[in-house]
Symmetry: C2
Subunit: 193 residues, 2 copies
DNA sequence: CGCGGGTTTGATGATGCTCAAGCCCGGTGG
DNA sequence: CCACCGGGCTTGAGCATCATCAAACCCGCG
């Protein structure tokens, strides 16, 4: 169950066997079936979850019922409503499974305890968050500066896995465009080749 | 010179006098005059900078010469091309001073050394990056889901300091809209009251 | 076979961009 | 002290992009 987890952590920090043992104790394994919720907005986000395998998404829903994708998370990614998880306030995000998934979950209290007990995990998360900021900045520039077509081409170029694995209407929402527009863009691009 | 710095760090982690002494040694003070560059894209970002006072901005410039604001940083904020700083690759951001500013700068090597010598700083940056992620996610949702007017109202509501201190064409770029559109939005809002 | 979710296609309209001109105001030099 | 300059803000007209609404289509699944 912890195979993917330790592989990923060890890409960033070296862990001793004893440290692995300590870390394991803080996590709760969980199976989530396709379409099941991990979190609904209004609830408190009680877990930060590592995806051992499967695929999840976090998103908000606006007044008109439109979904706005925050993030996709598959093998090796973390997912939560970070704000709710850290502050204990109500979540504004929903999280559910796009595919059957296996998760490793940790509570805020255990998270804080773990990073103190194993300082290498503090380091791991600092590095993880750093990288997350870099990718969010890229997405933000893309969102603010590019046309719909440029955004899509950008995504295909730098994150082809997303296109392969996730249905179009979810990708459209991730890019902040409508499914119709995405469909037309794809047609247009196909025509160019 | 370190007043604002230690005030801000101590909001997140408690520091001993000895730790403060160690930390101070890693930083280089710098004065930057209005309009001077701290970083130009194509160069390597050699410093992560803390703003003791003043105001800076980071931004990209596209093929057509349009600027796209990444971030503003004033008293108590950090600024850098994070990717270039951490990877040693060429920067894609420009950073310059909007107002005369006093900075505390640290190199990547010293940064890594400091967080190992003073684990509380590792913690400080983990928390800092966490919060940064949360705010970038909010900005992303706003950018992907809202109209230009909604984005602006959102900014006025949650970051009134930005409106007070920064000129309109820079705010427009931060929101991913043109100065003309922002001007019309402001007129429109004023009319509503 | 028929249902339902996802995708496609079309027509229409709104939002926001582009280009161009004018204005306001603070700073500089005569 | 005034004239001028320039940057930033405003205003207008026309246009491109993208959203909306609606209908048809496709395909996997019960």
């Amino acid at each position: 169950m912890f195979e993917v987890f330790f592989t990923h952590v060890k890409e960033k920090v070296l862990l001793l066997k004893e440290e692995e043992t300590i870390i394991k104790k803080y996590f709760i394994p969980k199976i989530l079936r396709k379409k099941q919720y991990l979190l609904q907005d209004g609830d408190i986000c009680k877990y930060l979850s590592f995806v051992e395998n499967g695929l999840l998404r976090s998103y908000t829903v606006d007044d008109k019922g439109n979904e706005h994708m925050i993030q996709f998370a598959w093998e090796g990614w973390w997912i939560a409503d970070t704000y709710s998880f850290l502050s204990g306030e109500k979540a504004t995000y929903n999280i559910d499974a796009i595919e059957d998934s296996e998760l490793l979950m940790i509570t805020p209290a255990h998270f804080e305890e773990m990073v103190i007990m194993v300082p290498k995990m503090e380091r791991y998360f600092r590095i993880l968050f750093q990288n997350n900021i870099i990718s969010k900045e890229k997405r933000l520039i893309s969102s603010n500066s590019f046309t719909a077509e440029e955004k899509y081409v950008n995504l295909v170029t730098f994150h082809p896995q997303i296109i392969q694995r996730i249905s179009q209407h979810l990708i459209a929402s991730y890019l902040g465009i409508t499914p119709e527009t995405l469909s037309r863009i794809r047609k247009n691009i196909a025509g160019k080749k």
